[in-house]
């Protein structure tokens, strides 16, 4: 989005500068003074208003009403004038003030924390879109309210009434008393306890007790299975509980008339709404804290296991008649066993299996002695199972079988085109270019994590993985310089394979060179992946290879995963409280549930509303069902088709509006996915989703307050 301001007066440009970044206003001193004055002025106003008493007086109401109306008219005229100025130059209209654009802007903003929020160069960020949406919605409500009153009392009186409504709304929010909100939140907590919130704990513990029956520790990635299970169970239980608590509370108080004794005290509607939200949020926080701790220990205990190495299982491996070390296997526990590899110098390691390995200490070497027959060694607890990897992603490019650059690999016939394939036994390669690679960051070499898709054109040795190789190349080298092979490995299909490219690399001519001196230029390095086996294929996508900068704390990452559920819970609470301010209990539950479903299927709703799915809208679908037509065939032209498609238009618009208003809740599963797949949840993601949540919570809170304020609670 580019805001073209070349036609605007020079003063405006002087003040704000091209693209609103280099103007006088943004020079450090004037900007600082301006910001300080703004903050001081706003603080003074808030303090003064908080100390004041009573509601908006007549004069103020008229001033606010008139001012708001004038502002709306001026903005509307400005938009029209802008459009007229750019008429005939349609290609120059880089933006249009429609809700669709706002929704699109919010959805498509890049997720880079503050940059996402404030935009590159502190403009064009999501925050401004949010303000635009809020101001537009407020203006729409103002105009509708004014029209409704004007019809009964005339335009001037309507202006005063609307002004008073705005003034009172601002005062009711500014004058919120923390003590009253605290009291109401405390009441919400007591009420939740009375409604037997502890039952949820009982259900949770019961589910965990029986989880051992159906959670298979011998699965391909047991950590993912366990983590997915606890996060999903906690999420569903807490969200359902909060849905019922938040949407039934106010209607129950209105029905039992206990609300009468509250609203006849000096309690503002804003405080009632905020108190409920705060109370239920506190309940959610406590629930999640306790459930999080229980879940953490459940996962740790569930995954804990050891193996035993029997000295008799270690057999000498020979190559060309000479011993090259020993190999053996551990005992079978949790449906798996590990391969144990000992090099000629007696150093041993336990191979990764099911996403983990076990460490060997010095005592295990007793198994290698001559008198070791019958001796056993017990391994320690699994390592690398519960991780929070901090990945550094690179940019992926491909080379074809002749070694020439190409934008993607081979399609092996998968419908899902996420991964592109490279052919084995050829020059085809997947090339990742990583940036920001420094010695300080990776002092021991480059730890590479890979998740490879395998496509076999022949069975080969089915017990053995397809062989691949990793190669290094300096991006500054000319096109003729070939990459240097640094590792040959046996692939593990759809499992995370960890490899370490050591600092010291041996070149084809046998020289030992330092990785950073030879292959890294300006922090950039190329890592090539090739498939070695003929007629077999590796499938890769950009995110399938990354360098693991380090591992963050798993416990902390686990807590972040629960924070994601907490954010979702906060949205559900606010939605529940909003619906409960104007609907009866059961209807409020249904409405909140509907909003939750709508949020979870947000993308589908949007595609349905914008005709990106097959089968048309509701009316066309009914006709298709009744006439047994499939969804992909075109409807026959005619009156019936015209009628149903015309009827579908308002339905699609309604759906679009709903999709534009509802938060996209399906995206919140990024938290649980990151934890389950063992990736650290970046701070940017947390900031983005926190802002996203509060961007919805704040207007929903104001809407709930307005609904309650204008409701006759004694009716």
């Amino acid at each position: 989005m580019v805001i073209d301001i070349t036609d605007v007066t020079p003063l405006f440009i002087w003040l704000l500068g091209p693209e609103w970044t280099e103007g006088r206003l943004f020079h450090p001193l004037p900007l600082t003074v301006f910001l300080l004055l703004l903050i001081a002025g706003l603080s003074w106003l808030v303090v003064r208003l908080r100390k004041g008493h009573g509601s908006t007086d007549r004069g103020a109401a008229r001033a606010i009403g008139g001012g708001s109306a004038a502002a709306i008219v001026l903005i509307a005229l400005g938009i029209i004038a802008w459009k007229l100025l750019l008429l005939g130059k349609a290609e120059e209209i880089a933006w249009t003030l429609t809700l669709a654009d706002f929704a699109e802007g919010l959805r498509n903003s890049c997720f880079k924390g503050l940059q996402w929020l404030l935009g590159g160069g502190w403009h064009q960020g999501a925050l401004y879109w949010w303000f635009l949406v809020i101001i537009s919605a407020a203006a729409a409500v103002f105009v509708l309210g004014w029209l409704a009153v004007a019809l009964r009392r005339g335009p001037i009186k309507a202006l005063e009434t609307s002004g008073r409504a705005i003034g009172d709304c601002a005062l009711d929010i500014i004058r919120i008393s923390p003590r009253r909100v605290g009291a109401l939140a405390w009441l919400g907590i007591k009420e939740s306890i009375r409604r037997r919130v502890v039952v949820v704990f009982a259900v949770f513990i019961l589910i965990l007790l029986f989880a051992g029956w159906f959670l298979d520790p011998g699965s391909i990635d047991p950590a993912r299975l366990y983590l997915n299970f606890v996060l999903t169970t906690t999420g569903y239980l807490v969200i359902l509980l909060l849905l019922f608590l938040s949407s039934l509370s106010l209607p129950a108080d209105i029905k039992s008339r206990t609300l009468h004794t509250i609203v006849t005290k000096p309690v503002r509607s804003s405080e009632v709404v905020l108190g409920r939200i705060a109370g239920f949020t506190a309940v959610a926080t406590c629930l999640l804290l306790i459930m999080g701790v229980i879940s953490y220990f459940f996962v740790e205990r569930g995954l804990a296991h050891t193996h035993v190495i029997d000295a008799d299982s270690l057999k000498t491996v020979e190559y060309a008649g000479r011993p090259t070390g020993r190999q053996g296997v551990t005992t079978r526990v949790h449906e798996h066993r590990h391969k144990v590899v000992v090099d000629p110098s007696g150093n041993g390691r336990v191979e990764t299996e099911q996403g983990h390995w076990h460490e060997l200490d010095e005592d295990w070497k007793e198994l290698l002695s001559k008198e070791s027959a019958g001796k056993k060694y017990q391994l320690g607890q699994p390592e690398g199972m519960l991780l929070a990897r901090v990945p550094v992603y690179g940019k992926l490019a491909f080379r074809n079988r002749e070694g020439e650059s190409t934008d993607k690999g081979i399609n092996v016939g998968d419908e899902w085109t996420y991964r592109s394939y490279i052919e084995g036994g050829s020059l085809a390669a997947a090339v990742w270019t990583f940036q920001g690679i420094t010695e300080e960051r990776f002092p021991d070499g480059l730890p590479v994590d890979m998740i490879l898709g395998i496509f076999r054109t022949h069975k080969g040795n089915i017990e053995k993985g397809v062989t691949g190789s990793l190669l290094l190349r300096n991006p500054r080298d000319g096109p003729d310089v070939k990459p240097t092979e640094v590792e040959i490995f046996e692939s593990k299909e759809f499992q995370i394979d960890n490899r370490l490219i050591p600092r010291e690399v041996r070149t084809p001519d046998g020289k030992k060179v330092d990785l950073f001196k030879e292959f890294v230029s300006d922090g950039e390095v190329e890592i090539w992946l090739r498939c070695v086996d003929m007629a077999q294929y590796f499938g890769v996508a950009q995110a399938d290879m990354y360098l693991r900068a380090h591992n963050a704390s798993f416990a902390w990452n686990f807590a972040k995963g629960y924070f994601g559920i907490w954010l979702l819970g906060l949205l559900v609470i606010t939605l529940g409280v909003l619906f409960s301010t104007f609907l009866s209990g059961p209807v409020a539950v249904l409405a909140t549930f509907g909003a939750l479903l709508g949020g979870l299927f947000h993308d589908f709703m949007f595609r349905l509303a914008t005709h990106q799915t097959y089968g048309g809208g509701p009316f066309e679908s009914i006709v298709r069902i009744l006439t047994q037509q499939n969804v992909t065939s075109e409807m026959e032209p005619g009156l019936r088709t015209t009628v149903v498609q015309t009827l579908d238009q308002p339905a699609a618009f309604g759906l679009w509006l709903l999709a534009a208003v509802l938060p996209d809740l399906s995206r919140f599963n990024v938290f649980s996915k990151c934890v389950a797949y063992g990736f650290n949840i970046p701070g940017d993601t947390i900031l983005t989703y926190t802002c996203r949540t509060f961007a919805f919570v704040l207007p929903l809170f104001v809407a709930a307050y307005l609904c309650l304020k204008n409701r006759e609670v004694a009716r």
Binding site: H53, G54, S55, D172, S177, R179, R180, G182, A183, L184, W186, L187, K190, E191, R194, S256, R257, T258, L259, H260, T261, I262, V263, T264, K265, P266, V267, R268, E712, V713, A714, R715
Partner: protein
């Protein structure tokens, strides 16, 4: 400041409508009312006469269809006026899962009272309503009378200037009723204004300075209780010390006997009689303000 107006309604009307906006019932018709500081004002009327609607309109629980309700010279929908009001609803709508102390502390917090003040006030009120022995019990274990008492305590938590009592003696035993009436009079003597509505006419007669009688949403009568109940065309002479023989002669001439005249004045009817007569009259002549009922009594 005796004449300072605390509550004022101007042409206050409330129409209940259905979902489609159609008029269902006109609960209150053009009520004009003034209640002054320091008086006990009673709202009387049969079921559906609009007295609870009036109270709800004055408290901002309902919004007027037309007209205006002013409390402390502020619109009834304004929240800050509640800082000076105490309200005891018809039934004590309290949170039954809280105990007496928690209940009063909670309502004290809603008045933004500091913790120390709240603690003292809670202790005083619990002692005043005589629930010291049950202050840690949940309200769901309370009898109706006890709930009423704690309801009264919550209405007084902020030491209000105006106390609105909806059926204050409902559920109370005779002693409790007496104590409630004494308390209402005590509050009036402290300079507070009391607005109450009740079906128990004897209670209203005992405590109210002025009353208004509502019927089918209209005000039928308003004035001081003593003047409303005065029967103008009858003279009452109350005497004592008459012997049994002398009683026969009383009709001829009291002064000729040795009796001592205690009071000569207008006898009063009971409020119950007055109330029933007004209702009867209203049913015979709907829509007309009742006049002269008292004179005919």
């Amino acid at each position: 400041m005796q004449s300072e107006i605390i509550i004022e309604t101007r042409n206050l009307t409330k129409v209940y409508r259905d979902f489609w906006g159609r008029q269902k019932v006109r609960a209150l018709k053009a009520l004009d009312l003034e209640i002054r500081r320091g008086e006990i004002f009673g709202l009387l009327g049969p079921n559906g006469s609009g007295k609870t609607t009036t109270i709800k309109l004055l408290l901002g629980l309902l919004f007027p269809t037309t007209g205006q309700a002013l409390v402390f010279d502020r619109d009834a929908r304004e929240v800050t006026k509640n800082e000076r009001i105490g309200y005891l609803p018809e039934e004590s709508y309290l949170y039954r899962f809280l105990n007496a102390e928690e209940t009063l502390d909670f309502y004290g917090r809603l008045f933004n009272m500091p913790r120390a003040v709240r603690r003292q006030r809670v202790a005083d009120l619990i002692e005043m309503v005589g629930l010291d022995w049950a202050k840690r019990r949940q309200l769901k274990e309370y009898s109706k009378g006890m709930t009423r008492r704690i309801g009264l305590a919550q209405a007084l938590i902020n030491d209000p200037e105006l106390i609105v009592l909806d059926e204050p003696t409902t559920g109370l035993d005779p002693i409790g009723t007496r104590e409630m009436k004494d308390l209402i009079i005590k509050l009036r003597d402290e300079g507070k204004t009391v607005l109450l509505c009740s079906h128990l006419l004897a209670d209203v007669q005992d405590v109210c300075d002025r009353i208004a009688i509502l019927y089918q949403g209209e005000m039928k009568e308003m004035g001081r209780v003593d003047s409303l109940l005065k029967v103008q065309d009858v003279t009452e002479i109350r005497v004592t010390g008459l012997s049994a023989i002398a009683q026969e002669e009383v009709k001829r001439a009291i002064e000729h006997n040795n009796g001592h005249v205690l009071n000569i004045g207008n006898p009063t009817t009971t409020l119950e009689d007055l109330f029933l007569k007004i209702i009867r009259e209203s049913e015979e002549h709907p829509g007309r303000r009742v006049r002269g009922v008292v004179e005919k009594t």
